[in-house]
């Protein structure tokens, strides 16, 4: 069970930068993002493929594969600096305090060992003293909790004997077996069909309520975000372009990219003649990220300054931030108006 400490956040990420040093050059996958997460908070990270959303999650768990490296910023978990962990500390940290579940349940389980074996292994990696029988019992409890029937039989089965949705449940069970404070879910429902998606989401909501753990939910599906998340970070080209409570994002989107995303979602209640409105253009080449706002070439409202400089973050509402020159323009206009107002007043 997560405990809320005074003024301590569960996770604080400050200006995280991740680059991949490939033979073709340095790919700046994550170009400086910051966010924090409270205990028990569910944050959604939304973005296209290549926006860096998975990479920043991997860097929290130290799972970045070479040639990727964290080149700047800090990650603080429960007050501890994750980036400075030694190898042993990191192995103790993973699975225990933070767990991760991945996108493709078909390939994420080792096909030559039984599911029970793999669950027990997850437990015994962190609790050396637990007996085999106890570990198995815990594993079975966990499997029941995620909604698998016939646990006795299922424990001795191999992954290929489970369906996709069941495997994802097993993955969740494996992630939660050590009662972590934070669960990172990297597109857990993308590879599943819609009805199973709904089931898994329900399950996750349920579990979150029970365990009060924090969740970072990475997805490109806004619908899922609306269902489960408390707050949302919208990423584009390695940067967070908008961040805020889920309602704000959906009802008051401020960044043109967010607006575009929301607009491009097909809706069940759309009329026949309504066309899908996609976002024009193609994603940015991360090998040579341009100066200025990365979304500029695809933005309807692009201004000259957008091509030159990266816009600063601005608070638009309660805890609602966005990085867009449009907002700066609005603020400047407002300021000018105030100025004139004052001057008028003074005169």
């Amino acid at each position: 069970m997560a405990e809320a400490k005074e003024n301590q956040k569960l996770l604080e990420v400050k200006d995280l930068r991740v680059s991949f040093f490939t033979p073709a050059g340095e790919v700046k996958a994550v170009g400086g993002i910051s966010y924090d997460l409270d205990y028990g908070e569910v944050m959604g990270v939304v973005g296209e493929s290549g926006s860096g959303k998975s990479q920043e999650a991997y860097s929290i768990m130290g799972l970045l594969q070479s040639p990727g490296k964290v080149i700047g910023g800090s990650i603080t978990f429960e007050g501890q600096d994750v980036l400075s962990f030694s190898k042993d500390e990191m192995t103790a940290f993973r699975g225990n305090k933070v767990a991760m579940i991945f996108q493709n349940p078909m390939t994420c389980l080792n096909p030559v060992y039984t599911v029970g074996n793999q669950l027990v292994e997850a437990l015994r990696a962190h609790d050396k003293n637990i007996s085999r029988a106890d570990a198995e019992k815990r594993a079975m409890e966990m499997m029941e909790m995620v909604g698998i029937n016939n646990v006795e039989k299922r424990m001795r089965q191999y992954p290929h004997e489970f369906s996709g949705g069941m495997r994802q449940r097993v993955m969740i069970a494996m992630g939660l077996i050590c009662h972590p404070q934070l669960l990172i879910a990297d597109e857990p429902t993308t590879a599943l069909d819609v009805t199973i998606q709904a089931q898994i989401l329900e399950l996750m909501k349920d579990l979150q309520k029970k365990t009060k753990m924090g969740i970072i939910f990475i997805t490109h599906n806004l619908g899922v975000v609306a269902d489960i998340c408390d707050k949302v970070s919208v990423m584009y080209a390695g940067k967070i372009v908008e961040q805020g409570p889920v309602d704000d994002i959906f009802y008051n989107p401020s960044h043109p990219y967010t607006v575009g995303l929301l607009r491009s979602m097909p809706r069940v209640d759309a009329e026949n003649y309504e066309r899908l409105i996609p976002i024009e253009g193609t994603p940015v080449d991360m090998l040579n990220p341009p100066e200025g706002c990365p979304f500029a070439p695809r933005c309807q409202h692009c201004m000259k300054i957008c091509l030159k400089k990266m816009p600063p973050y601005m608070e638009i509402g309660e805890k609602h931030r966005s990085a867009c020159w449009l907002r700066v323009l609005e603020r400047m206009d407002k300021k000018d108006q105030n100025k004139e107002g004052n001057q008028d007043g003074k005169q």
Binding site: T91, N96, V112, Y113, A125, H160
Partner: protein
């Protein structure tokens, strides 16, 4: 599982049958006969000899008779090299020698090859890996006679001070006598196994479940030896079957060079001498052995990989 074994066994028998027929046809298509190298016998003697050994009957009858005898376990008798000695007994005497050398060679090939392959996989891209790769490719590029000859020359002749291993095989001389032949014979399989292990390990380490294992917080050792290696060994097993074949056949050369009284060398001699029953018998025996070993390895492979569920017919 049972069904698979039966099916595989059936195929093996069919193959053995085909090989037997093919050998028989080839042997008889060749002009000349076992008697030619001796002082030219007269027509009558030839006819008598042929009649005695049943060589005068039409081919298909000969084949049939041979097959019948085979089923009874009678491989015929040697016509030339060891007159009138039952081929089966020749095989019984010579095969164990070949088998021992071959088995030792394979053992050391696997015991050294797999760890080397793993090492190359971990240190991938670095100097160790490059060196190992070139050495292993070299190993599979050198025909066994090259390896055997070089070994002989280095240890026995050329570099006089290194005469530590005997050059002529002598079973009673203790373990030393096995060193050079087994090394020569096992060098190719070792390099081949190392290459296969390396690529299988690399494949294995790239799998998603390794990511899961790391995310679970497992220690590196455990990830490598429990998860990656186990998966990597599966394809390696499938290469063992053909390796048995190769080792046995490579044995021909090694046996000649080191003068090992084994079946391989005898086989080559029998071909040169046109001793039909021996050729037939040894071919059938060796081929059957190889085919059966392939079958065993295939079955092992199916057992090792639980994804292939033979009872339920898979997913």
């Amino acid at each position: 599982m049972g069904k698979y074994v039966v099916k595989r066994l059936g195929m093996a028998l069919v193959t053995i049958f085909l090989v037997t027929c093919l050998t028989f046809l080839l042997m008889n298509a060749v002009p000349g006969s076992p008697w030619l190298s001796e002082k030219s016998p007269s027509e009558a003697t030839l006819a008598a000899l042929n009649a005695k050994y049943g060589l005068d009957k039409p081919l298909h009858i000969q084949l049939l008779k041979y097959l019948q005898n085979l089923l009874k376990g009678d491989f015929g008798v040697s016509l030339k090299m060891q007159k009138n000695r039952a081929v089966l007994s020749i095989i019984k005497e010579m095969f164990p020698v070949s088998a021992k050398v071959g088995a030792l060679a394979l053992c050391w090939a696997v015991l050294v090859g797999v760890p080397l392959g793993c090492l190359a996989a971990f240190k991938r891209g670095r100097l160790t890996d490059s060196i190992l790769r070139v050495v292993c490719t070299l190993g599979i590029s050198m025909p066994s006679f090259v390896v055997a000859s070089i070994l002989l020359v280095s240890f026995a002749g050329g570099i006089a001070s290194l005469k530590i291993f005997p050059t002529i095989f002598d079973a009673s001389a203790g373990w030393r006598t096995y060193v050079l032949p087994c090394f020569a014979l096992g060098f190719y399989p070792m390099c081949y196994t190392a290459r296969q292990t390396r690529s299988a390990m690399l494949d294995s380490l790239n799998q998603e479940f390794i990511k899961t294992a790391r995310a679970k917080g497992l220690k590196d050792n455990k990830i490598i030896f429990k998860h990656a290696l186990r998966n990597a060994l599966i394809p390696v097993i499938t290469y063992l079957g053909p390796q048995v074949a190769f080792t046995l056949c490579g044995g021909f050369v090694v046996e000649s060079v080191f003068s090992i009284p084994g079946l391989g060398r005898y086989f080559v001699q029998s071909i040169q001498n046109r001793d039909y029953p021996v050729i037939m018998g040894t071919t059938v025996f060796l081929a059957s052995f190889i085919i059966l070993m392939n079958m065993v390895v295939d079955i092992l492979y199916k057992i090792a990989d639980p994804r292939i569920n033979l009872m339920k017919g898979g997913e």
